[in-house]
Symmetry: C5
Subunit: 289 residues, 5 copies
């Protein structure tokens, strides 16, 4: 078995291999124009697969990287993006792991397996992020929460696209009887499919929770506004009778009841207290706090 | 028939059985890495099934436990999680019930049937929880209601995943002609499928109601805020004319009408009463309380 | 043809029939454990069908009742719930209608047809209820409207489940070539299928309208709050200048402009009127009422 | 070819034809019980089709009318609703257009084509209505807008049902090899199918836009309330310092600073202006207007 | 190979070609009635395809243009809209590119490929627009944001329709074994299909993000209203004690505590400060700002 590891898709090496193994021009073009979707295409002489690895950058945004594989009867060609140390490390890991194995389909499976293993930590990260957003939405909703929901949504959309396409690849591998993959690899490929399907399931769950977080945000803000309104109203309730009564007794009009009496002040404050108390009792009665 | 009951998936006993019955390494791995999805896989010598039991912890959260079954021509192997008394009890129950029966497929069906029976009480619990949340959303919406909606949503998502996968298992059993299951068990397996499908139906209904509860929460809070605003406005309506009129008569300006007259007070209070009454009548007229 | 009418599913009569016609134990269990979903199961000697009738109780809630039918070559067995006069009446109606007919499949069709006829009045009732809820949501949204939306939603979910399952039964009957149903009954069974499909269509429409009613409720309350806020602001606009100006002229400070002049009052009231008018004009200009 | 035009479905003429051409009793019943869904049913001797025409009444509500067609080897029977001049006109139009043609399938196609042509103007009408509702929701949301959204929603639901069923009819015609339709009519029937599918597409788009209009309504009202609140707060900001300061200087308490000074008034007004300016500056700084 | 380029669909040239190549009248009609959906129809002598190109006008609205192609054994007929320089340019580009190629299917592929290339820049534009709308919704929600969301929604609906239909065309080409397309073109047609499918994926993602932007708008406005309410309440909190206390001391009533004392003023201001401080502390304590 020959394993051609190409780490610069623009190198002439790839053209040489294309000629030697009769690789289709469209596939070479796919290798060189990055940011393809994950896909698999079966040709007479080989199987061409685009796989997507994912990782998080420092700010929690999702980055994806392509890895292209040509799997033939007796050769494997892997084409990396030239500036991605993660993919480079993954290839080295596979190389070490596939130590004594010489079959192309075993190498192919191992690469795929390692690729798929990059998905779970990312999903776990977003699960935690959404947990945090939920808590914020409930206890302290701010515009930052909203921005967080939106960013996570965008990232999950990207993640979902990667997973849907990878699942289709895995499904194709599992269902189609390819001449390049021996039957003892089938359970392992089915296992890869199960992993991806489970991940996709998780993404759908996360999206569902995210939508819920937005609803909770809105409900939570509405509830807070309601609380604020009530405080405002109660404050008004307490203050208004005092203001009205004292304004009345502040008029330069003769004959205000009790003004001359020594109990004037008691009468006035009593009126205020009764009015305020009555209003508070009425609010209580109509059961809104 | 031999029934191997393994309650510690890490015991060497499992390795011995794997060798004896030629169990696939991936299936042994599934037994040892818990928290698999429910699934069924047919191998030449046996059928491997992962089943999920559910129960509620004290705070109403959903817990799941795996039970792995290998069903062969003349053997059954059950692998439990080692710290789950519920699954242990279930196995004992099945053992007692399958008293005089010696066929592996009968044991297999009984375990499945008991497993599926753990789902209904959990769903009934959530039905009640949602009922309570609805009532709260209508009569006293608080942030706790929102948190409750969210928790229930998360639990139903887990429950749904268990049920979807279990339905697929039951569907597979019902449609595929397995050499390890005799035809007189078919109606019973179809019955299991019907149970699970009905449960899944219920979960979808509960999710639908939960979404509705959130909408009702939002609508209910909005309505309450509206009520509070109206109270505030009516209070303002009653107080403002009194404040305005008495402020005016409090001015140190000469020539306020009627100030010198003995009916001054009556005039002033009359003006206040008319203005307040007029405003209330106007609000009434525009029909908003 | 023999028609066995069993009105108490727990009677030993049913056990006798089970033995005579070799009815499957699971089907007998289904007859005795009520609240099954509508379903159809074909056995070598007979077709077993669970059908669901619906009716409204006095408070407009949906009640369902099971009716189980065994249809064989030369027999029909109907098993009723023992406390349901509606189903009893339906059976009597069918008995009268199928006067001269002696074929089991004709009786079977007639029962099904009458059963399906119980659905339309219920749907018409909910259509009216939703119409009323819409009107309330638009003109006078109260918490009762919300509770009504929620109750109707729950009932429609139940109704939908009955209809989906009944449609599957009708579809099965229409597509499968059963030995117990003669070909001249096919157009009639297709007619039943069409009825149920149309009813299901109606349920989906009602659910759609119900969701819309909730959206309208929320929008309508938001609009009302907006109106209330505007009234509050306009009232503030009218009152504030008067309060501010008269407070200023109420100060015990010397030198307020015009206080000594005979036109003091006119100046003061003029200032108030101009300020109020200016504010109202500004609000008008910014076009928000 | 014989074309029987029946404009009163209750006329005995229809019974005579039923006998002569062996029309199925269920189809005759369908003709007589109006308000069927569009459908097609193939019988040994003929094809029975229910078609739905639509039009708008003066208030913009959707009206539907049935037209039933029996298409046989050498006959066409059309059954109209007896009080629908539009359908009458349509039949006359077809009669004129199919001047020299004598084949039943050509007449059948022409009727269908004319029927389908009644859909587009209705959809165009609703497109305009929704455009208007959107504009209202953005610039002047009132309860009438909400009522308009709801009415349009109901009408589109009806329209959608007509189109879905008609598409199924057209699809059936296009796929099934009917003995009553010659192959040169196939492209024309496919054309009808395309028309209906395009219309259905438009209905889905309109429904989508309508849902959006409701969201915009809610957002727009929320935004307006926010504006009103800000105006209220700014007004409060301007007035409160003046009220507080002048109330303080209105107290009958000795020793208020500067009261005796000739600059008292300047001091007081200066304090008011500074306090108001400070508050406005603070609001500005926190960037909320 | 003959390539007939018709740039005015109403020219008699098209009629001549219709006669010569036996083009179906319905297809000629499709060429002349513009604004068809993208579609493909296979006839005995040729394949008829309607393709849709898109571009943005100056205000960012989406414009579509039809291009009709008849592909036969040895001819290609392209029919342009007569007032569309973009399509004209596209045809010229294809002509130049297909310099030395003489096969009709190659020309056909090239036109399709160039057509599909017009979609991506449009989608990128809307991606940026939605990014901007999101930012506006978060930081400065105005009615213009809402109008922008709605306009983009309408445009994406149109874009989606174009893409769905084009995907169906590409899918048909890829699956059907047409006598007019040689097998070496198949990978290229599959590539076109992949492009369109990826674009459609992007449209769905954009629609999803747009819905999210509306939710964020609503949440953001609700949050802002909440902030405004809090400011209003805090301002009330600060002012009310001062107003109440100074109103009370402004009353013309004898016996107000401390009025005669030289510390009167200190007492009064102290009371105001304590009351205001107490209220602010209470609000803080209940944790709402």
């Amino acid at each position: 078995m020959e394993w051609h590891k190409i780490s610069d898709p623009n190198s002439p090496e790839l053209d040489r291999l294309a000629e030697r193994y009769q690789l289709h021009p469209l596939h070479i073009e796919d290798c060189r124009h990055r940011n393809q979707n994950a896909k698999i295409e079966q040709n007479p002489g080989y199987v061409f697969t685009v796989m997507k690895g994912v990782r998080l950058d420092d700010s929690g945004d999702l980055l994806t990287a392509d890895l292209d594989i040509f799997l033939g009867k007796d050769f494997v060609i892997t084409v990396l993006e030239d500036d991605c140390p993660e993919m480079q490390a993954l290839i080295e890991l596979v190389e070490k792991a596939s130590n004594g194995e010489s079959r192309p389909d075993q190498v192919y499976y191992r690469i795929m397996d390692h690729m798929v293993d990059t998905y779970l930590p990312v999903l776990d990260h977003y699960d935690e992020v959404i947990d945090g957003l939920e808590d914020q939405a409930l206890s302290a909703p701010t515009p930052e929460t909203l921005a967080g929901v939106f960013d996570t949504k965008r990232n999950l959309i990207v993640m979902r696209r990667v997973l849907v396409n990878t699942r289709d690849v895995a499904n194709h591998l599992q269902r189609t009887d390819s001449p390049f993959i021996q039957s003892d690899m089938w359970p392992f490929l089915r296992d890869v499919y199960d992993h991806v399907a489970r991940n996709l399931d998780t993404v759908e769950m996360l999206r569902d929770l995210l939508t819920g977080a937005l609803d909770v945000y809105l409900s939570s803000v509405a509830n807070r506004t309601n609380q604020v309104m009530k405080v405002l109203t109660v404050m008004g309730t307490v203050a208004l009778p005092a203001v009205v009564v004292s304004s009345i007794y502040g008029m330069n009009v003769k004959g205000l009841p009790g003004v001359e009496s020594p109990y004037a002040l008691a009468v006035v404050f009593g009126t205020m207290a009764v009015a305020t108390g009555g209003l508070l009792w009425a609010l209580k009665r109509f059961d809104w706090w």
